[in-house]
């Protein structure tokens, strides 16, 4: 399955099973956000509630909950770490998660426990895209559904 129209920038890592992107910051913190595929899957996001700063998150556990039309989903961290920051803009504008997922719509920052080990499990480039395509196949995602592009245009 091709994910035409969705972008997966090369300058970050991905956890396709959690629909997330990750980026190591210069200070060693890890920023997490929703990938374009996650945006396509969930649609318009109207709330994101992160867990509190200072809380330890185990790998595979929720760092918050995303609410979208008629549904909600856990945002699960692929790595163990401690919540070090929230995106303050999301309190007033949670829609930034789907409007600018790779930029102002970042979701949370973690202080990782073992970043080298976690990084080894993450994907980037063509292997990440292939993994997202497999996820899409499993999810029964319809690539012909243009609603994602529509709500980004504000229709």
């Amino acid at each position: 399955m091709k994910l035409d129209g969705l972008t997966f920038p090369d300058d970050r890592l991905y956890a396709p099973e959690h629909n997330l992107w990750l980026r190591e910051e210069p200070d060693g913190e890890i920023t997490l956000g929703l990938s374009d595929y996650g945006v396509a899957l969930y649609g318009e996001i109207f709330a994101f509630t992160p867990k509190r700063i200072g809380l330890r998150i185990a790998a595979g556990r929720s760092f918050g909950v995303v609410e979208f039309a008629k549904a909600a989903a856990a945002a699960k961290s692929p790595l163990a770490g401690t919540v070090s920051a929230h995106n303050p803009q999301l309190e007033q504008r949670p829609a930034l998660i789907h409007l600018d997922p790779y930029g102002e719509g970042w979701m949370i920052r973690l202080t990782p426990e073992d970043w080298p080990a976690a990084r080894a499990q993450l994907l980037h480039g063509a292997s990440a895209v292939a993994a997202f395509e497999r996820e899409a196949e499993r999810d029964g995602f319809n690539p012909d559904d243009t609603s994602v592009q529509a709500f980004r245009r504000g229709e």
Partner: protein
């Protein structure tokens, strides 16, 4: 600071006579499960009717929204358990058979079992 998983019991008491209240227990259960809480929904009183095939499919909390069964399934998908309070059978009648319930019900138990759960859980909500 490590997080400890909390066990939350939601007593679902709203049923077909108050459709506007019927989605909230399941939506709250979904959100709690998404926050890694261990959630159990317990249908009791009129809410037990939601476990009968066809009832939750035909019930809408919001006329423009999804049927209540959508919220039930979402809570189940998020990991919540769904239990039903078994009424004592009427004299001369057989107890409710599990096959007469919707597939989403995990199990059903007595009032005494429910009381034990209330004492055991970290949080108990009635919705």
């Amino acid at each position: 600071m490590a997080e400890t998983a909390r066990r939350v019991l939601i007593l679902v008491v709203s049923g077909p006579s108050t459709p506007a209240r019927c989605a909230a227990p399941f939506h709250i259960a979904t959100l709690l499960a998404c926050m890694d809480a261990e959630v159990t929904l317990y249908l009791t009183g009129e809410a037990a009717e939601l476990a009968c095939p066809g009832v939750a499919e035909a019930l809408y909390a919001d006329p423009d929204g999804a049927p209540v069964i959508h919220f039930v399934r979402q809570a189940k998908q998020a990991g919540a358990g769904l239990y039903l309070c078994r009424k004592p059978p009427a004299p001369g009648q057989a107890p409710t058979a599990p096959e007469a319930l919707i597939d989403e019900v995990d199990d059903y138990g007595s009032g005494g079992e429910l009381a034990a759960m209330i004492l055991e859980y970290d949080k108990v909500l009635s919705l």
